[in-house]
């Protein structure tokens, strides 16, 4: 949560710099963003590739565990489709691009901004921040309503790190492994699924 606050402060500082200075017209922004983005994605991949535990979990729990991140993808898609009725003026694939950030706000908002522009990028940033905060706040409620997988499903990509402590407290320690695994798969899916969606526009 502390890191989150720092990140939000960092973002707010950026907004002020962009609003009140001419920095944006001097710095080649898109170029530098692309570089940092690719570096970040490379590092995320390295973290998962080097994690020996992932392969063990997959072996032990078999394919059943893959159903958890799959549930998040299908469930999020269904939820966004249901909300599309109220989202006139924004194409379905663009709403889906926001939903498919799965709470991974830093990466998804940059990819969405690069593909669909500032307005949608800002929406993606807010939406995915809300997903993380909602999971932190609603985890006990979701557990009572939908069972032990629900907080993991709500957390999406964040269930591997930022929302993990809450999930393991609410759903139980034996669900922490599933939580990390699901979060990792979704984290990897974000940079893969969003470029696919961009082809549909």
């Amino acid at each position: 949560m502390k890191t989150n606050l720092l990140i939000v402060l960092c973002f707010a500082a950026g907004v002020c710099l962009g609003r009140f200075t001419l920095l944006a017209s001097f710095v080649p922004l898109s170029g530098s963003v692309t570089f940092v983005l690719l570096a970040l994605i490379f590092l995320v991949g390295a973290g998962v590739g080097g994690n020996v535990g992932v392969w063990h979990v997959l072996k032990e729990m078999r394919l059943r565990i893959l159903l958890v991140p799959l549930t998040v993808v299908v469930g999020t898609t269904a939820g966004v489709a249901a909300a599309a009725v109220f989202l006139r003026g924004i194409p379905f694939f663009q709403s889906l691009a926001i939903g498919w950030g799965f709470g991974y706000y830093s990466l998804s908002s940059v990819i969405v901004t690069r593909t669909w522009g500032d307005m949608l990028g800002m929406t993606a940033l807010i939406a995915n921040l809300i997903r993380e905060i909602a999971t932190l706040l609603l985890a006990p409620f979701l557990l009572r309503l939908f069972g032990k997988l629900a907080p993991i499903a709500a957390g999406g990509a964040t269930s591997m790190d930022t929302t993990l402590p809450v999930i393991s407290r609410v759903s139980g320690k034996e669900y922490a492994v599933i939580s990390v695994f699901s979060g990792m798969v979704l984290t990897l899916l974000v940079p893969v699924l969003l470029p696919l969606l961009s082809k549909l526009r």
Partner: protein, 95 residues
């Protein structure tokens, strides 16, 4: 194939080859956490210099909340089905 997917695959491969070097992977992990700061700062500058984004903030925020909360609701509801069918039984007790 986009540059993003190439970067991801290169990362996974590198991480897998270096999986025994826990020290190095820890450094990569920290670097990843640190990279988020300049990324969001630059994103902030981009949005801040775009007047339209700031003017439309309430509308964008409302849309964002709707998309995000319906995504959470859809995921959680579907997870109830998967949980009842595949996970609860194995715990050996009904709760």
């Amino acid at each position: 194939v986009s540059e993003v997917v190439i970067a991801l695959c290169a990362g996974i491969l590198t991480g897998f080859m270096l999986r025994k070097k826990t020290r190095l992977l820890q450094v990569a992990d920290t670097a990843g956490a640190v990279a988020v700061f300049p990324l969001l700062l630059l994103l902030g500058v981009t949005f801040g210099s775009n007047g339209a984004v700031l003017r439309n903030l309430p509308r964008l925020g409302a849309r964002a909340a709707l998309i995000s909360l319906s995504g959470v609701a859809g995921s959680a509801a579907l997870s109830a089905l998967v949980y009842r069918r595949l996970f609860r039984k194995e715990e050996g007790h009904e709760d």
